[in-house]
C-alpha cells in the first residue's frame, strides 16, 4: 500500500545513471526525514480523541490539549528513550565519569554520635606522600540546605558533629588506598556531648540542642518544626457512632537505590566549576554550590549524570558535592568521590521514623466526622526537607474523603542519627497507612463493607478539601470499583480461611508542589523548555528536568513528538547540563510530567505554529484546515495537497535559520491563606486504590503478599508501559516498608544495618503478582490530561497489606514493618487475650452486613452519578468539603456553623489535650521567652 512521500528528491540525488552531475542539481541528496520509511504512515485514529474526530474514547470529557493530538506518541506504550544506553552499559552514571588527571577524594566521618570538635590537626595527613589536598569545616563556613528556611548543613562539620558518619574532613590523594590511609592520620580532639536518639526525648529541653535557631528556637528543645492545623466542626466528633484509635510505630526506611552517590568536580582552565553528579534536583545543588563556594552561579556548570535511582534520596544538595569541589579547587585536579553503601545510609534522607497516633470517628450515617492525627517524626541530624514533611504528615490525609473535621499536630525533631528527608510518597505514606487501617476498623464496627464505606464518602471531582486544596480530576471512585471487580472482592472479603486475607487501601498524592521551594526570582516558572529545530529536521529539546529512571525524558520526547507529528526518534532531549538547560526545579513532588511536559507542549506548539504558517504560505490553506501527520502537513479534506515536514521547515527557516521556541509552566494561584496553606497544594492530585491478598503463616508470623490489584488514576497515561512500571515498582518499594525494610538503630544508637544484606529489600521471591490498572480521569490542566504516577502508587500498598493481615488473622498490627517477629508477637498477644492455645485454632473475622450497609451503597450510587456529571463538567456548581454534612458550598462554612475552625495554632484550652507531637506547643520560642523575661 502506498502513501505520500516525505522528501521529494531524497535519495535520487543529483546524479545521472551514468554518474554525471545533473545541471542545477546538488551532488548530494537534500536532508530527508524519510529514512527507511519514506512514506507517510496513516493517521492513527485510535490515538486521536473522539472529541476531535478520532476513535480514542474520552469518558471523562474533552481536554484542552485534544486539538494538539496527532495520534503519534501519546498513550502508546514505548520503551524509555534512554533504555538502550542503560541495557548496553553505555549510560554514564556518577562513578562512570573519568576525567584526565583525576584524583580520589575520601571523607573522614564522625565516630561519635554528638561531639564538639575542639581541634583538628591535619599535619600528618598533609605529610603523607600522595596526598594532594585536605579540607575541613573551616574551608567552607557557609551554611546550605535544600529549603531556604532551614539551612542547617555545612560541607563538613563546623564546631559539632551530629551523628555517627557525619562529615568531619576530606582528603584528596593520588589513589584510593592513599586516601584511605590518609583518613587515619587526622588528629582530632573531641568533647563528647550527650546524644539524643528517642524523638520523644527530642521534645524536651536539652543542655546542648543539636542545632540552635536563635530567637526562633523552641525553648531549648530539639524540635525543628511544629505544626498545628485544625479545620471544621470539632463538635461532630464528640458523640461518634464508630471510632478508631491507633498508635503506630513506623521504622525509618531508605530509598535503596542501586547507584551509590558519586561526584566528580573539576575547575576548568577558565576557572569555572564543572560538577558531575547524579542529582534529582541539579538546580538546588547549583544554588548551594554557589553559596558554599562563594562563586556566582554562572561560573558553575552542574552536569547531571544518569541517575541510578533516586526516589527522593538524591534531591538534597549534598555535602560531598561541596567537598569534591573544595578538594578539586585546592588540588588543582579533578576529584572523584564515590560512596560505599554504608556512606549512602549515613547521608540517608530516607523516610522518617514516626510515631503516629490517629483517632477517627464516624456518625450514624457513616460519614467521617473527624480525623485527629498526631505525628512525631524523627528527623535525624539535619532539617533536609523536614519542614515540608512536618506538614505533609497531616495535610495529605485531608482527601480523598469528605471530612466533618480535621485536627493535626505534627513535630519533627532533630536527633543524633543520619538525617531523614524526602522519599517516594514524601510525608504521606505513614499517615495514609494509619488512616486507611482506621477506616477498615470503623467499617468493621459499623458492620459495613470497607469499600462501600469509602465509596460513600469520597470528595467529587472539581471540589475543595477541608484544608483548602483544589481537587480537579478525580478517579478515586473508578479505581475503587475496578480493584473491587478485578480482585473478586465481594466473594473473598471476610470469607477466606485462616491465614489467607484480602485488604483494601487507598492513596492520594500531589502531582507537583504548587509552591516552588525557591520562589526567587519572583514569578519564575517551575519548568521551562526550549526547542530548537535546525535544517536537518531533528528536534532538540533543552530541559533541566532530571530523568532519574522515571522516564521524564521519554515523556518530554513523546509530547513534543505528539504535537509536531514526528517520530519520537527525531526528538533529541538534552537535559544534562545547567549551562544549556533552562532551569527546572527538579524531580521531586511528582512534578516533572505535569509541569515539564506542560512547558514542552507549549514550546512544541510554538514550533508547530511556525511550521503551519510556512505551510499556509506554501499551500494557501489556513492552519485551521491543515493536518499534521507523520512528517507531513496537508489540507484536511485532501491529503494530496500538502507539503512534507522538511519542506515546511525549510520554508519557515528562510532568512531566520533554526526555529526556536520556548514554553514555561507555573501553577495557578490556589489554596487558603492560613499558615501552612501552601503545604500540599498542587495543581492536580493523583488517586489510587489497591487490593492486596496475603498468606500469613500464623505459627511463624511470616507474611507473604501473593496478589495485588493496583488501580492508579494518573489522569492520562502518556506512556502506559512506564505507568505500569511505576505501579509495579511502587508496590515493590511499599511492600519493603510494610514487610521487611527498616533502618535498625541498636541500643547504643548506632545504625546496625547499613548494608544491603541486613537492610532487607524484598527480593524477586517476595514480589506478588501485580495487576496494574490504569485509571484516566483526564486532568484539565495536565499535559494531555496527565498527572503523576511515580509516588502516589506507593501509598495504598501498605494499608492494603495491613488490612489483609487482619482479614487473615483477626489481629490488628500497628508496628511497621510487619516482620515475622512482630506478627508472631501480635498473634501471641491475641491468643492470650482470646484464650486460644494454638494459633491454628484462631478464627478469622467475618462480616454480616449491618443496617448501615444499604444506606451507604445507595449513597455511593447517587455520588457516582454526581461525580460523572462533575467530571465531565456537565455540573459546574461549587462543591466544598462539608456539602455531605448539609452545608451550602456558596457560603463560607464559618458563617454557617458556629464553631467552624480554620486554625494554625492551638487554643489555650486545647494545650492539655494534645498528643505527643502536639506537646511541642507547650514550649515557647526564644523570642517570646525573652518577652516574658
Amino acid at each position: 500500500m502506498g502513501s505520500y512521500h516525505q522528501q521529494p528528491g531524497s535519495n535520487k540525488g543529483g546524479q545521472r545513471r551514468d554518474g554525471k552531475r545533473v545541471a542545477g542539481k546538488q551532488a548530494f541528496p537534500p536532508p530527508g526525514s524519510g529514512g527507511s520509511e519514506p512514506e507517510m504512515r496513516p493517521r492513527d485514529l485510535d490515538f486521536i480523541p473522539e472529541t476531535v474526530g478520532g476513535r480514542e474514547p474520552k469518558p471523562a470529557g474533552d481536554h484542552i490539549h485534544d486539538r494538539d493530538r496527532t495520534g503519534t506518541a501519546v498513550g502508546k506504550p514505548m520503551a524509555l528513550v534512554d533504555s538502550n544506553a542503560k541495557v548496553t552499559g553505555q549510560a554514564w552514571y556518577g562513578d562512570d565519569v573519568r576525567l584526565k588527571g583525576e584524583a580520589i577524594g575520601k571523607i573522614l566521618r564522625s565516630p561519635h554520635h554528638y561531639a564538639r570538635i575542639k581541634s583538628i590537626d591535619t599535619s600528618r595527613v598533609e605529610a603523607l606522600p600522595g596526598v594532594l589536598a585536605v579540607a575541613t569545616g573551616e574551608d567552607a563556613p557557609n551554611r546550605f540546605g535544600v529549603l531556604p528556611v532551614t539551612k542547617d548543613e555545612h560541607a563538613m562539620a563546623v564546631e559539632k558533629v551530629r551523628h555517627v558518619g557525619d562529615l568531619v574532613a576530606c582528603v584528596a590523594a593520588v589513589d584510593e588506598a592513599t586516601a584511605i590511609q590518609a583518613l587515619s592520620l587526622f588528629d582530632i580532639e573531641w568533647e563528647l556531648l550527650e546524644p539524643v536518639f528517642d524523638p520523644k526525648k527530642g521534645l524536651e529541653d536539652h543542655d546542648e540542642p543539636i542545632h540552635w535557631r536563635g530567637k526562633y528556637h523552641l525553648a531549648r528543645t530539639n524540635v525543628q518544626k511544629r505544626v498545628f492545623q485544625e479545620f471544621g466542626d470539632r463538635s461532630l466528633v464528640k458523640t461518634p457512632h464508630a471510632s478508631s484509635h491507633g498508635s503506630w510505630t513506623m521504622a525509618g526506611v531508605h530509598h535503596g537505590f542501586t547507584e551509590p552517590h558519586a561526584v566528580v568536580a573539576h575547575w576548568d582552565p577558565n576557572g569555572r566549576l564543572q560538577l558531575y553528579t547524579p542529582q534529582q534536583v541539579p538546580h538546588y545543588t547549583h544554588r548551594a554550590l554557589s553559596t558554599v563556594l562563594d562563586v556566582p552561579m554562572h561560573q558553575i556548570n552542574v552536569v547531571r549524570t544518569f541517575v541510578g535511582g533516586g526516589f527522593g534520596g538524591k534531591s538534597d544538595p549534598f555535602p560531598h558535592e561541596m567537598c569534591a569541589a573544595i578538594l578539586a579547587r585546592k588540588a588543582g585536579r579533578p576529584i572523584r568521590i564515590t560512596f560505599d553503601r554504608e556512606e549512602v545510609y549515613w547521608i540517608n534522607r530516607g523516610r522518617h521514623p514516626s510515631h503516629i497516633d490517629v483517632k477517627m470517628t464516624a456518625d450514624e450515617e457513616g460519614r467521617i466526622s473527624g480525623f485527629d492525627i498526631d505525628a512525631l517524626i524523627d528527623g535525624g541530624g539535619f532539617a533536609s526537607f523536614g519542614h515540608v514533611t512536618s506538614y505533609y504528615n497531616g495535610v495529605l490525609a485531608t482527601a480523598p474523603y469528605e471530612l466533618g473535621s480535621f485536627h493535626y499536630t505534627g513535630a519533627r525533631v532533630w536527633t543524633n542519627k543520619p538525617a531523614s528527608g524526602a522519599m517516594r510518597g514524601h510525608g504521606a505514606v505513614n499517615t495514609r497507612c494509619a488512616v486507611e487501617v482506621g477506616l477498615d476498623e470503623m467499617a468493621e464496627q459499623m458492620a459495613v463493607d470497607p469499600i462501600d464505606l469509602r465509596l460513600a464518602n469520597l470528595l467529587p471531582p472539581h471540589s475543595r478539601t477541608i484544608s483548602g486544596f483544589r481537587i480537579t480530576s478525580n478517579g478515586m471512585r473508578e479505581a475503587l470499583t475496578r480493584v473491587r471487580e478485578g480482585s473478586d472482592w465481594d466473594n473473598k472479603f471476610r470469607q477466606l480461611p485462616l491465614g489467607k486475607g484480602i485488604g483494601i487501601g487507598c492513596g492520594f498524592f500531589i502531582s507537583g508542589s504548587g509552591l516552588p521551594i525557591h520562589w526567587d526570582p519572583k514569578n519564575f516558572p517551575h519548568a521551562t523548555v526550549h526547542i530548537q529545530v535546525d535544517m536537518d529536521g531533528g528536534v532538540t529539546v533543552h530541559t533541566g528536568a532530571a530523568d532519574i529512571g522515571q522516564g521524564s525524558t521519554t515523556a518530554v520526547a513523546q509530547v513534543v513528538a505528539e504535537v509536531l507529528a514526528l517520530p519520537v526518534e527525531m526528538i533529541h532531549v538534552r537535559s544534562h547540563e545547567s549551562d544549556t538547560s533552562p532551569v527546572d526545579l527538579g524531580s521531586y513532588s511528582s512534578r516533572v510530567t505535569f509541569m515539564n511536559a506542560n512547558a514542552a507542549i507549549r514550546a512544541a506548539i510554538g514550533i508547530r505554529d511556525q511550521l503551519l504558517k510556512a505551510a499556509w504560505e506554501m499551500l494557501g490553506y489556513h492552519p485551521n484546515v491543515l493536518v499534521l501527520n507523520d512528517r507531513r502537513i496537508y489540507y484536511k479534506h485532501d491529503p494530496a495537497i500538502g507539503v512534507s515536514y522538511l519542506q515546511a521547515l525549510h520554508k519557515a527557516q528562510e532568512d531566520t535559520g533554526a526555529l526556536i521556541a520556548r514554553g514555561a509552566y507555573r501553577s495557578p494561584p490556589m489554596g487558603g491563606v492560613h499558615k501552612g496553606a501552601a503545604a500540599g497544594l498542587a495543581p492536580a492530585y493523583s488517586f489510587s486504590a489497591y487490593v492486596a491478598e496475603v498468606d500469613v503463616d500464623v505459627e511463624t508470623g511470616k507474611v507473604s503478599c501473593t496478589n495485588v490489584w493496583a488501580a492508579h488514576d494518573c489522569g492520562k497515561a502518556l506512556n502506559p508501559l512506564a505507568v505500569r512500571g511505576q505501579i509495579i515498582g511502587s508496590c515493590h518499594m511499599g511492600l519493603g516498608q510494610v514487610l521487611s525494610e527498616k533502618m535498625v538503630y541498636g541500643r547504643t544508637g548506632h545504625l546496625q544495618n547499613a548494608n544491603l544484606l541486613e537492610y532487607k529489600i524484598p527480593s524477586v521471591h517476595e514480589m506478588p503478582h501485580v495487576e496494574p490498572i490504569i485509571v484516566e480521569s483526564s486532568d484539565p490542566e495536565g499535559p494531555f490530561g496527565a498527572k503523576e504516577a511515580g509516588e502516589g502508587p506507593l501509598l495504598p500498598i501498605l494499608p492494603a497489606v495491613v488490612n489483609a493481615v487482619y482479614d487473615a488473622t483477626g489481629v490488628r498490627m500497628r508496628d511497621l514493618p510487619l516482620t515475622p517477629d512482630v506478627v508472631y508477637k501480635g498473634i501471641q498477644k491475641h491468643l492470650k487475650k482470646t484464650g486460644v492455645d494454638d494459633p491454628l485454632d484462631l478464627t478469622p473475622p467475618t462480616l454480616t452486613h449491618g443496617p448501615l450497609q444499604k444506606g451507604l451503597v445507595e449513597r455511593a450510587k447517587e455520588h457516582e452519578v454526581r461525580d460523572r456529571l462533575r467530571q465531565r463538567s456537565e455540573d459546574t456548581s461549587a462543591y466544598v468539603n462539608g456539602v455531605l454534612f448539609g452545608f451550602d458550598p456558596n457560603i463560607p462554612l464559618s458563617e454557617q456553623v458556629e464553631g467552624w475552625r480554620e486554625a494554625d495554632e492551638p487554643l489555650p484550652e486545647q494545650l492539655a489535650e494534645l498528643g505527643f507531637a502536639g506537646r511541642a506547643w507547650l514550649k515557647k520560642e526564644q523570642r517570646h521567652m525573652e518577652d516574658d523575661a
Binding site: G701, G746, T748, K760, S763, P820
Partner: protein
C-alpha cells in the same frame, strides 16, 4: 570498597598447600584459606581480619571430589543443589543458601567453615571504630563483647551456615589436612566454642572433604530454615532432622544459627525416647529442642522470637520426615 592488598597463592595439590601453609607459619606470616571467597572476601573488604597471604584451594583436584559419600570442600553449593548423586537433604539445604548467584561461587568447605556473624562485628572499619571495637575484632584494645557487655572472655557471634546441621543429621565426618598430616573428625566435634575459635582447625589446617557413612542414603531428611526473605538471607534459625523411616532410635536433629556453633541434639533425643517408651512425640520433642538453645541478640530477628521458632521448625522438620501434614 577497596580490597586490602594480599598475596594470593595457588597450590596445585594437597601436599603443596600443606607445604605452603607450613612455610608461611614458619615465617610468622598470617594467612587465610579461600575456597569460593563469598565469606572471607566480603569480610576483607570490610577490613575484618584481613591477612597478608591468602591460599586458594581452587587448584587442588582432590577438593572437587563429589560422590554419594565424599564431597570435596571446593564443590559449589550450586553443584550440590543440582547433583543427583548426593542425598536429597543436602540438595535441599544447599538450594536454600543465599542466592543463585552466590551459590555459583560459594562452596561446601566455605559454608562449613563460615565465620561466625554478629551485627556488632560484620560492619566496616569506620563503624566498628565508632563502637570502640568489640571482643571479636578488638584491634588490640581488649574491647568488651557488645552483645554481652562487660566481658571480654567469650565471643557469642552466631554461626549461620546452612549445611552443617544437615551433614550432622546424616552422621557426616570431615577430613582435615595440614602440615602435620590428616585426621578425620565427626562433624559435631569439628565445631568448638566460642565464636572466635569456631572449630578445631589448627593453624595451617584446612577441611578437605566431608565423608558420609554408607547408611546415610537410607535416611529421610528435612531442613527447616527461618529467614526474612527467600533469597540472600542467612538463616535466623535452622533445624535439620533425619531418620531411617520407622526407626525412632535413628532419629537425628541438629540446629544452626542459634548459637556460636551448630548443634546436634542427640542428648535431647535420647532423653525424649527414654521418657516416651522409644516413640516420638513431636510436640514435646520440639519443646525440648527449643529449651536446649539460647540465641543472643546479634542477628536480624530478636533472640526470643528465634528461640520460639525452634519449636515450630522442629515440629515441621519432624512432620516432614514422618510424612505427616
Amino acid at each position: 570498597m577497596l580490597m586490602p592488598p594480599f598475596e594470593l597463592h595457588h597450590p596445585k595439590s594437597v601436599a603443596e598447600a600443606c607445604e605452603l601453609a607450613g612455610s608461611l607459619l614458619e615465617q610468622g606470616q598470617a594467612f587465610d584459606w579461600v575456597a569460593g571467597g563469598t565469606d572471607v572476601l566480603p569480610n576483607y573488604k570490610w577490613r575484618i581480619n584481613p591477612k597478608p597471604h591468602v591460599i586458594s584451594l581452587a587448584g587442588i583436584p582432590d577438593a572437587f571430589t563429589l560422590s554419594a559419600n565424599e564431597i570435596g570442600c571446593m564443590v559449589t553449593l550450586d553443584t550440590l543443589s543440582s547433583s543427583e548423586i548426593v542425598h536429597s537433604l543436602l540438595r535441599e539445604a544447599a538450594s536454600k543458601v543465599a542466592s543463585s548467584l552466590i551459590r555459583k561461587s560459594a562452596t561446601v568447605g566455605g559454608n562449613l567453615c563460615l565465620d561466625t556473624r554478629c551485627f556488632w562485628y560484620n560492619q566496616s572499619e569506620d563503624w566498628r571504630r565508632s563502637i570502640d571495637w568489640c571482643h571479636k575484632a578488638d584491634c588490640g584494645t581488649g574491647a568488651d563483647c557488645r552483645v554481652i557487655p562487660n566481658q571480654n572472655t567469650l565471643c557469642v557471634a552466631t554461626y549461620q551456615g546452612d549445611l552443617a546441621p544437615n551433614f550432622m543429621v546424616l552422621n557426616a565426618s570431615v577430613l582435615i589436612v595440614g602440615p602435620n598430616g590428616e585426621r578425620t573428625i565427626e562433624l559435631p566435634s569439628f565445631y568448638q566454642l566460642d565464636g572466635m575459635k569456631k572449630n578445631i582447625l589448627e593453624e595451617g589446617e584446612f577441611l578437605l572433604k566431608v565423608i558420609l557413612p554408607e547408611d546415610a542414603s537410607q535416611r529421610e531428611g528435612c531442613y527447616q530454615k527461618l529467614r526474612v526473605r527467600e533469597s540472600w538471607d542467612f538463616p535466623e534459625a535452622g533445624i535439620a532432622a533425619s531418620w531411617i523411616p520407622g526407626q525412632s532410635e535413628t532419629l537425628q536433629i541438629a540446629s544452626t544459627a542459634l548459637e556460636s556453633i551448630p548443634k546436634e541434639h542427640s542428648e535431647q533425643i535420647r532423653q525424649h525416647l527414654e521418657s516416651n517408651d522409644g516413640s516420638i512425640d513431636i510436640k514435646s520433642m520440639s519443646i525440648s529442642i527449643q529449651k536446649s538453645v539460647k540465641p543472643v541478640n546479634n542477628t536480624a530477628l530478636p533472640p526470643r522470637y528465634r528461640r520460639s521458632m525452634v519449636n515450630t521448625l522442629t515440629k515441621r522438620a519432624l512432620k516432614g520426615i514422618m510424612k505427616e501434614n
